[in-house]
């Protein structure tokens, strides 16, 4: 396997090659850096190339492995991190023009843990400014510009983990790290045709990560298979003293050993109305048939009526305005690309304290409702997105003008969700299915995703990127 071929493979396929020293971590890092510098920049997927650090980490990995110290499946694997995770000596600009060049004196826990696992940081990846915390209506709302979808460069990679989705799909990195408050891992995973896990809230510590909404932010992996997402989770999950929300509980590891074919799977057929792309619908129905064919007990579920989207909007709007208050009060918010961001703070302040608490009470009812659902089902499945990738030129409030009860409710309830590719449109754009579980059932979702990927090859398809200059 050449380094270029390795970049197209999954982590679980590359790792044995590295361990047996058939594949050099240094050569792999160089190939990744080259692709990031060419393809990555042309997609606007890169915020900062971390060349020096990457080569230093790759050389250290090579030396350790040669000396018989193999740290595990991420050892020597190049990865990229969303540019909201603090990295020592490397700018962390949160995708925002006024914060370009911002540096931190402490490394994010997730980055430190990946370093301990031997992974090689090759790039900070592009993102929507402030992860969309003060709102955005165009794909261009980023200091990196709009990130293209590698399957069709006139399409958007989605946000806010835009670079993480595009870089993973274009095989510029072995895997990447993104974050989700509401949709920011799942949507880029769906639009780019990669596997992405939004972990249970609190499972992955956020120490050193930009805060947008303290009660809803999660950090998780985007990779080229469900199995790879699990390998990354092994390295990054677990409590951390720096994050009071991080859980001491562990994900249900026993689920790996369970037979996913025995899972009770609830199908949430969303009422997307006119906006529900028929190609998405038929690909999803085919995926449901495949899961049923694997032996899972499949039946329909209807979510109880709640103002899911509205509750999430109130919580996020208020918390984001508090999180970014220094930027708002200093007036530097005016330097953001999104014009409406300059008055987002004023708008948020019109929500009363009572309204915020009321939203948190409704959130509790929503959590309890999901609790009831998961007494009957192990997992829920639904289309990740009702549409294929939007055009870069689209006004997002129009392109995304549908309600998202499972997305909003799932994030409000801290539920884990895995997005896996489940088809392609006639125009060659990826379609995805989300697998949602009860809190801490991340492994169950990954187990079903892995089984699904053993029966299908959607996750193995790669976008045609044209000739790529190699070293």
């Amino acid at each position: 396997m050449t380094p270029q071929e390795a970049l197209d493979a999954t982590v679980s396929e590359i790792a044995p090659q590295i361990r047996s020293r058939q594949l050099s971590p240094v050569a792999l890092a160089e190939a990744s850096l080259e692709r990031l510098d060419t393809v990555g920049r042309s997609l606007n997927a890169v915020a900062t190339l971390t060349r020096e650090r990457a080569l230093e980490e790759a050389r250290a990995a090579e030396k350790e492995i040669a000396g018989g110290r193999y740290r595990g499946p991420l050892h020597g694997i190049p990865y990229g991190a969303k540019d909201l995770l603090a990295t020592l000596g490397i700018p962390t600009g949160w995708g925002a023009q006024p914060l370009r060049g911002q540096t931190f004196e402490r490394e994010a826990t997730v980055i430190r843990r990946l370093r301990d696992a031997g992974a090689v940081l090759v790039a900070k990846l592009a993102m929507i400014e402030l992860a969309g915390g003060l709102g955005y209506n165009t794909a261009a709302a980023s200091s990196s510009g709009p990130t293209s979808d590698p399957w069709d460069r006139s399409r958007w990679s989605c946000g806010s983990s835009s670079g993480s989705g595009a870089a993973t799909a274009a095989a510029l990195v072995g895997f990447s790290i993104g974050s989700e408050t509401w949709g920011s891992i799942l949507c880029p995973s769906a639009f780019n045709g990669v596997s992405g896990l939004r972990p249970t809230y609190g499972l992955v510590p956020r120490t050193g990560a930009m805060a947008l909404s303290w009660t809803m932010d999660k950090i998780g992996p985007l990779a080229r298979s469900a199995e790879d997402c699990g390998l990354v989770m092994d390295a990054i999950a677990g409590p951390d003293a720096g994050d009071p929300s991080s859980m001491t509980e562990k994900a249900d590891d026993a689920a790996w050993r369970e037979r996913p074919s025995r899972f009770r799977v609830g199908v949430v057929r969303p009422d997307f109305g006119k906006i529900y792309d028929r190609e998405v619908e038929s690909a999803f129905e085919e995926a449901v048939r495949a899961i049923s064919g694997m032996g899972a007990a499949v039946s329909d579920v209807k979510l109880p009526a709640f103002p899911y989207d509205e509750t999430a909007v109130i919580v996020i709007t208020v918390e984001a305005a508090a999180a970014f208050e220094p930027l708002i009060t200093s007036g530097r918010v005016r330097e953001l690309v999104e014009p409406a961001a300059k008055w987002a703070g004023d708008v948020a302040k019109t929500v009363s304290g009572v309204d915020y608490v009321r939203a948190m009470q409704v959130r509790r009812l929503i959590q309890e409702a999901f609790d009831g659902i998961f007494e009957k089902y192990d997992l829920l499945v639904s289309p990740t997105m009702p549409i294929v990738a939007a055009k870069i030129s689209d006004k997002l409030e129009k392109a995304f003008s549908y309600s998202d009860p499972l997305g909003a409710g799932g994030n409000l309830s801290g539920l884990p969700a895995l997005s896996v590719p489940c088809g392609f449109s006639k125009a060659g754009l990826p379609i995805a299915m989300q697998i949602v579980g009860a809190p801490l059932s991340d492994r169950k979702a990954l187990a079903l995703g892995r089984l699904y990927q053993e029966h299908t090859d959607w996750h193995r398809r790669r976008p045609a990127l044209g000739p790529v200059k190699t070293t």
Binding site: V313, R358, Q361
Partner: protein
């Protein structure tokens, strides 16, 4: 948007020991606070700001309409509820 139906709202009201529909906010709590004067905005921007405020007000109203039993603990623990096995 999946709105809560009257039947579902009634069910919630019955289910709770004491339930509040809260059609109005408690005295002294304005539904939407007055917008501060913001100099430096053009007329078009000012209009967009007012539109955003109206949208958020309507959003808050939809949340306020959910019947929440009195004493319902808000999700302030910042943790998901882990179902009992």
């Amino acid at each position: 948007m999946r709105r809560i139906t009257r039947r579902a709202a009634a069910r919630l009201l019955i289910a709770g020991p004491v339930a509040l529909a809260l059609p109005k906010l408690p005295p002294g709590e304005p539904a939407v606070r007055k917008l501060p004067r913001r100099p430096g905005l053009s007329t078009v921007e000012r209009r967009q700001l007012e539109k955003s405020v109206a949208q958020l007000k309507s959003t808050a109203e939809k949340v306020r309409k959910v019947a929440v039993p009195m004493g319902a603990e808000p999700a302030f623990v910042f943790r998901p509820i882990v179902p009992k096995k």
